[in-house]
Every structure is written in structure tokens, then in C-alpha cells.
């Protein structure tokens, strides 16, 4: 193969490559390219020889390619961050220690369980007294309520019988009194006149 034919082959390969790049570029503007294809474009435009037709966009892709690997933060930046974090951690720990205060036991805290127990006992006793009184009142009430007409009648009969007995005794006593008076009257009906 001669030198001229080799050059022609290279030119053909380059033409095919440029056509492919132009197609990729066309799809790139339409957002139809994959990440890999976009990387191919950046690699292509990062090379020195770019055809005139594609030259306008070389700056953009070459800029993007350099940005991907650019380290703009100084080496001391990482150390600065780590120092800031360390300082912040120390501050946080100091604040945490400050917030942890010893537990204070006051008399009211110590007596609280005892007072609670006393309150419960007082409530139970009060409730017991109240319930007892209520039961007593109810029992009296039930007796009054349960007295029937028959019971009233019996009571009246009893009272009448007693009154009757009292009347009998009274009449006997009257009779007895009358007889005594009669006896006394017979003795005095002919009293002896008094001698002057």
C-alpha cells in the first residue's frame, strides 16, 4: 500500500468520524444523547484538531471537559472543614455537659410518696363514713315506708284496748270512791248536836 492511499484511508476515517460527531452533536442539542455519547463529544472537542465546521462548539465542550477534573479548592480547605467540625463537636459536648445538671431532691420531692399515700387513706376513710351514714338513713326510711294500713289498724286496736282498760279501771275507782263516801255519809247523817 502506497503512502497516498494510506492518507486517503485516514481522511475517509476522519470524514466518517466527523459525520458521526455531527450526528451526535445534533442529538446533543435535542437532549437525546446518553451520558457516554456526551463524554465522546467532550473527548473529541478536547483534541487540538477540530474541523472548522465544528469549531464554534469546541470551546463549550473543552470547557466542560476541563471543569470535570478541575480542583479549585485549596488543599487547606479540607483541613479547615475538619477543624471547624472538631471545634463544633467540642462546643456541642461542652453544651451537653452544661445541660446535664445534678438531680436536686427537695423536701417536697422526698415527701411526695408519703403525702400521696396519706391522701389516698383520707379519701378511703371519708368514703367509708359517707357510705355508712347513707346505709343507716336508708334502713330507717325503709321501716317508715313499709308500715301498712293493717299495721296502723292493729296499733289503733291496741291503743283502743288500752284506753278501754284505763276506762274500766277509772269506773272501778269511781265506784270504790262512791262506796267510801256513802259509808262516811251514814255515819254523819245524824250527828250529835254539840252541847253548848
Amino acid at each position: 500500500m502506497t503512502t497516498t492511499s494510506k492518507n486517503k484511508d485516514n481522511q475517509n476515517i476522519q470524514t466518517v468520524n466527523y459525520q458521526y460527531i455531527e450526528q451526535l452533536l445534533d442529538r446533543y442539542w435535542k437532549c437525546e444523547t446518553t451520558l457516554e455519547e456526551e463524554q465522546i463529544l467532550r473527548s473529541f472537542f478536547s483534541q487540538v484538531d477540530v474541523p472548522a465546521s465544528l469549531k464554534p462548539y469546541a470551546t463549550l465542550f473543552a470547557y466542560e471537559a476541563t471543569q470535570q477534573h478541575e480542583t479549585t479548592l485549596g488543599s487547606d480547605f479540607e483541613q479547615r472543614i475538619m477543624d471547624a467540625i472538631e471545634s463544633e463537636t467540642d462546643k456541642q459536648q461542652a453544651a451537653d455537659i452544661k445541660h446535664i445538671q445534678p438531680l436536686k431532691f427537695t423536701w417536697s420531692h422526698r415527701l411526695a410518696p408519703l403525702l400521696k399515700a396519706a391522701a389516698v387513706v383520707a379519701v378511703v376513710i371519708t368514703a367509708g363514713n359517707i357510705s355508712e351514714r347513707t346505709l343507716q338513713t336508708n334502713s330507717v326510711g325503709i321501716a317508715d315506708d313499709d308500715m301498712t294500713a293493717n299495721d296502723t289498724y292493729i296499733m289503733k286496736e291496741d291503743i283502743s284496748a288500752k284506753i278501754h282498760i284505763i276506762d274500766q279501771n277509772k269506773s272501778e275507782a269511781m265506784a270504790c270512791t262512791d262506796s267510801i263516801q256513802n259509808q262516811n255519809g251514814a255515819g254523819t247523817s245524824s250527828p250529835t248536836p254539840l252541847d253548848d
Partner: protein, 167 residues
């Protein structure tokens, strides 16, 4: 996600966090503060690490929220963004000269930074951080469809802007 190591799992994300914060607030000092605040906040939430499904998206979400808070405060204070961009351009590190010149680097950065916040964040997360649509949606708290819409609009604007710079 269990057994998260601050040093091994979170600290390696600082560069990505910084790039995202920088893209949103566009000021180096503020972006550094945001990264520090993010890491400190994350450290204080150690008890919740076990519940985190994806520490990378979780951390980036936190960083974005803090950056947006700063941006909102800055807007309230009526600080001009152009001033911040100007300051940042002076302090930006020199790019790899073999790939891209300093002038081209600044141009690309400025054109991306001029996009609305959602569009530039999606461009940042997709084209620079190489994240999937779902991961971006998780970080931004929007749907995958919305991610694609924002990315599409962002890329279209960049395409027009770069084409215009060459003419």
C-alpha cells in the same frame, strides 16, 4: 444507606459541591462558605444518615438550597451579579492551556453563567458532573421531564450564543 463515612463518602464531594455553589452564586468566597455550611449541616445530622438513600444527591440538594438562599438574600440586598462575575473572573484558576485558552475558558463560563438558574444548574449537573436525569431531578426537586425541558432550553441558548461569538 448505612455506614456513611464523613471522610470517605462526603469529603470527596467537596469539589462537586463547590462547582455547583459557584455556578449558582458566582462568587468564590460565598461558594466556599456554602460548601462549609453544607458539610457542617450534614455533620450535625449524623443521626439521620442511615435514612439517606443517596448521599451524593442529598448533599448536592442541601448545597443547592443553601446557595439559592444566599442568592435570594443577595438579590434582596440589590447587589449586582455583574460585579460578582467580574470579581470571580479575576480569581478564577488558569485552565489547562493545552485544551482551552484562558479567554475561551472565561467565555464558556460566562455564557453558562448567564443562563437562568434552573437552566445553568441542569447544564452544570448534566454536562459537567455527568449525572443522570433522575439524579438531577432529585437534586432539584423537579420531574425528569422538567429537567429535560430546562436542559434543552439551556443547550439551545448556548448553541446560539457560541454560534454568534464565531460570526
Amino acid at each position: 444507606m448505612n455506614n456513611i463515612s464523613f471522610k470517605n463518602d462526603i469529603m470527596p464531594l467537596t469539589e462537586r459541591l463547590f462547582r455547583l455553589a459557584m455556578r449558582i452564586v458566582q462568587n468564590r468566597e460565598e461558594a466556599e462558605d456554602i460548601v462549609q455550611d453544607t458539610l457542617m449541616k450534614l455533620w450535625s445530622q449524623q443521626a439521620e444518615w442511615a435514612d439517606i438513600q443517596n448521599i451524593e444527591t442529598y448533599t448536592l440538594t442541601m448545597c443547592r438550597n443553601l446557595a439559592l438562599d444566599r442568592l435570594e438574600k443577595k438579590e434582596r440586598q440589590n447587589l449586582t451579579l455583574n460585579e460578582a462575575i467580574h470579581d470571580q473572573a479575576d480569581n478564577a484558576p488558569a485552565p489547562d492551556d493545552q485544551l482551552i485558552s484562558r479567554q475561551q475558558h472565561d467565555l464558556a463560563r460566562q455564557l453558562i453563567d448567564q443562563l437562568p438558574e434552573k437552566q445553568r444548574t441542569t447544564v452544570q449537573l448534566r454536562d459537567i458532573e455527568g449525572m443522570t436525569y433522575q439524579e438531577i431531578a432529585d437534586v432539584m426537586g423537579i420531574t425528569v421531564a422538567d429537567v429535560k425541558v430546562n436542559l434543552f432550553r439551556g443547550r439551545q441558548k448556548l448553541r446560539e450564543s457560541f454560534a454568534a461569538t464565531i460570526r
